[in-house]
Symmetry: C2
Subunit: 349 residues, 2 copies
C-alpha cells in the first residue's frame, strides 16, 4: 500500500516532468488516494468531530420545491432537539421578536460584562441559504452569546425555495438598519458562518450602497464568498471535508436555487467579486480540511489588499464550521475567546 502510493507519486512526477518538457504549461494534476488518520494534534472532543462520517444530506440534489422542503424539514428536526440543552448549558435565553419588520430571535446571556452592555451582534445563520429557518437558525448565536458574552440578534431571514435572492439580503439589511438606528453603529458587529458569513459581507455591501454606516467589526466564519466552483480547496479538500463533502451536489444545487437565474458572480451573491474598501475590521475563520478554506483565505487577502484590518485563524484538522462543532471542545471555546477579544478591541462602548 505504502509502496504503491510512492510508486504513484514517482510516476506522477515523471509524467509531469515529461509533460512539462513537451507542453508549455502542464495543467491539472492528479492527487492520489490517501488515508487520512484522525490527527493527534487536536483535542479528544475535536477528534470525535473529525472522525464523524459525512452526513448524506450534503450529497443530495433536490429536484423540486417539495424535495427541498423535505430536506429542510429533516435538518430542522435534527437541530431542534439539541437547542434546549444548549441554551441551558450556556445560560442563554432566546426570545422571538420583530425588528425592521423582520422576525428575529433576541438572544441574551445570563450575564453580560459592563463593557458589552451597550454592544450588540447581528447574527446571520448558515445552512447553504436554504436550511435552518426559525429557531433552528439560532444555534451559532446561542454559542456566541454564551461563550463570548454578547447580546445577539439572530435574523430569521426568508429563504428559497419560496423566497430566493434577494429576500435574505433584504431581511438582513432591514434588521441592520434598525440596529444602527438604535445603537451607535460602532457598537454593532455582524457575524455568521458559511452562508451567514457571506451574507455578513453582502449585507455590508448593500448597507453601504444604501448610505448606511459601517458596523464596528465583522466575524465571517468560513464564508461562501464565491458561489462558483473557483476556489482551489473546492478541489483539494473534495472528499476530505466531512461536513460538506463536495461542491458538486447540494452546495451547487443550493447556490443555483438561491441565485434564481442571476449570475453567480454578482457581488451580492459572491462578495469576493465586490468592492470591500472601507470595510470595518474583520476576523475570518476556517480549518485545514475546510472545503471553503480557499473562500476564506481569498476573502482575507482581498480585505488586506483593500487596506482593511483583517485577521485570519485556521484550525488544525477541521472541516467546514467545526470551530463551532461542540461547545465542550477546547478549540470551540478558544475560537469564541478570540472573537470576543477581537470585537472588544474594535467595537465602541
Amino acid at each position: 500500500m505504502h509502496a504503491r502510493r510512492l510508486a504513484v507519486l514517482f510516476l506522477a512526477a515523471l509524467v509531469s516532468a515529461l509533460a512539462a518538457a513537451q507542453a508549455p504549461a502542464p495543467a491539472a494534476r492528479e492527487a492520489p488516494v490517501r488515508t487520512l488518520p484522525v490527527p493527534d494534534s487536536v483535542s479528544p472532543a475535536m477528534q470525535k468531530i473529525i472522525a464523524n462520517p459525512l452526513h448524506p444530506r450534503w450529497l443530495s440534489e433536490p429536484k423540486d420545491a417539495n424535495e427541498w422542503k423535505a430536506l429542510v424539514k429533516q435538518a430542522y428536526d435534527a437541530v431542534m432537539p439539541a437547542l434546549p440543552r444548549l441554551r441551558e448549558a450556556l445560560g442563554v435565553a432566546v426570545k422571538p421578536d420583530t425588528m425592521g419588520g423582520v422576525p428575529v430571535y433576541v438572544i441574551t446571556p445570563r450575564s453580560v460584562a459592563e463593557r458589552n452592555a451597550n454592544r450588540v451582534l447581528l447574527h446571520l445563520h448558515g445552512g447553504a441559504r436554504v436550511l435552518h429557518p426559525g429557531e433552528a437558525g439560532t444555534y451559532e448565536a446561542i454559542l456566541m452569546a454564551g461563550l463570548a458574552g454578547f447580546h445577539v440578534v439572530s435574523v430569521d431571514y426568508r429563504m428559497p425555495p419560496d423566497h430566493p435572492f434577494p429576500a435574505a439580503l433584504d431581511d438582513a439589511v432591514a434588521v441592520y438598519r434598525a440596529l444602527v438606528a438604535k445603537y451607535p453603529p460602532r457598537n454593532v458587529a455582524v457575524f455568521g458562518a458559511s452562508a451567514g458569513g457571506s451574507l455578513t459581507i453582502t449585507t455590508l455591501l448593500r448597507a453601504r450602497a444604501e448610505g448606511l454606516p459601517m458596523p464596528g467589526a465583522i466575524a465571517p466564519g468560513t464564508p461562501t464568498v464565491d458561489l462558483t466552483k473557483t476556489s482551489d480547496t473546492l478541489f483539494t479538500n473534495d472528499g476530505v471535508d466531512n461536513t460538506l463533502g463536495t461542491y458538486d451536489r447540494m452546495i451547487r444545487a443550493s447556490a443555483l436555487l438561491y441565485a434564481n437565474g442571476r449570475d453567480l458572480k454578482d457581488p451580492l451573491l459572491s462578495p469576493i467579486y465586490g468592492d470591500v474598501r472601507g470595510f470595518p475590521p474583520a476576523i475570518l475563520t476556517s480549518g485545514t480540511r475546510d472545503l471553503y478554506l480557499s473562500n476564506t483565505v481569498r476573502m482575507h487577502r482581498k480585505l488586506r489588499a483593500a487596506g482593511v484590518e483583517a485577521v485570519l485563524q485556521v484550525w488544525e484538522g477541521q472541516s467546514h464550521t467545526q470551530y463551532i462543532g461542540d461547545f465542550n471542545a477546547p478549540e470551540v471555546r478558544e475560537y469564541h475567546e478570540e472573537v470576543a477579544r477581537f470585537l472588544d478591541r474594535h467595537l465602541g462602548r
Copy 2:
C-alpha cells in the same frame, strides 16, 4: 469519471455511517483520487508555479553522507546561476562576512528608508536543514532586502551530514548574540522559510535560555515546527503539494539526519513542543496546498494561546514556500509588503 467519484463518495459515506453505528469511533477515512486544476483565483505568474511538476529531489532518500552531498551539490548548482540576475533585478548587494565567529552574508538593498536605517533582519535559510550552504542560502534574503527594503544578515549555518544538530542552532544563536549586542534588540527581527522558519523559533528558545533579550518581531514562513509525522496536512496535502510532495521520503530522511539520534519531539528540534510565552509579535505564512499548512496553523494557535500577538496569512493554491516562488508574481510582492508593514509596526527605530 464524475459519476464514479460520486459513487465512491456515496459509498464512503454509507460505509462510514455503518461503521459509526457499530464501533465507538470511526478512525481514518480515505480521500478519493482527485483532479486538481490550476486555480483561476491566482495570478498568471503564480499559476505557472502551481502548474510546475514536483521536483524528483524530494522523492529521494540518500543512504549515506556521499549521497547526501551529491544531492546538496545538485540543488546548489540549480540555485546559484539565478542569483546574479536576482540581485541585479532587485538592486541588492551581497557581501560575505563573519559575525560571532560564524560566516554570514550581509545583504544591502540599493536604498533603505530612513526608518529602517537602524533596523536589521537576521535570516535563516530553508532547505530541510541540509540544502543551500554558502551563497545558495541567500535567495530568500535577497528577496526580503529588495522587496521589503531592510538590511539583512543571512547566516551560513553548518549542516549535516558533517554537522548535525545542534551546529545550526549554535551558529544561529551566535550571530543573534552578536546582532543584539550591536543593535537595540527591539530593532532586530528574525525570519526564514521552512527549516529556517523553525530555526527562527528554536533560536529564540535557546536565546531566552541563555538570557539573551527577545527580538522585536519574527516572520517564520511555513515553518517545520514538528519533525514528526503529526500535522494533519502532511496527510491531506500529500501528493497535492508540488514543492515537497510527501513527508515520507526526503523530508523524513533529512529530519533524522539532522536530529542525529535525538528525540524528534525535543523542543529545540520541533518547537511546537516548546514554551513560547513571552515571544515577540510574529507573522506566519503558508498556502492552501502547503504540506506544512498544519505546521503553520498549529504554531499560530500555540502563539495565540500563549498570549503572543501572532498573525497568519495563507495564500490561495500555493504549495510549500511558493509565496517566495517568483519575485515577479504579485502575490510574492504582496507577501513582502505585508511582512514589511508588520515589521515596521513592531520594530524599534
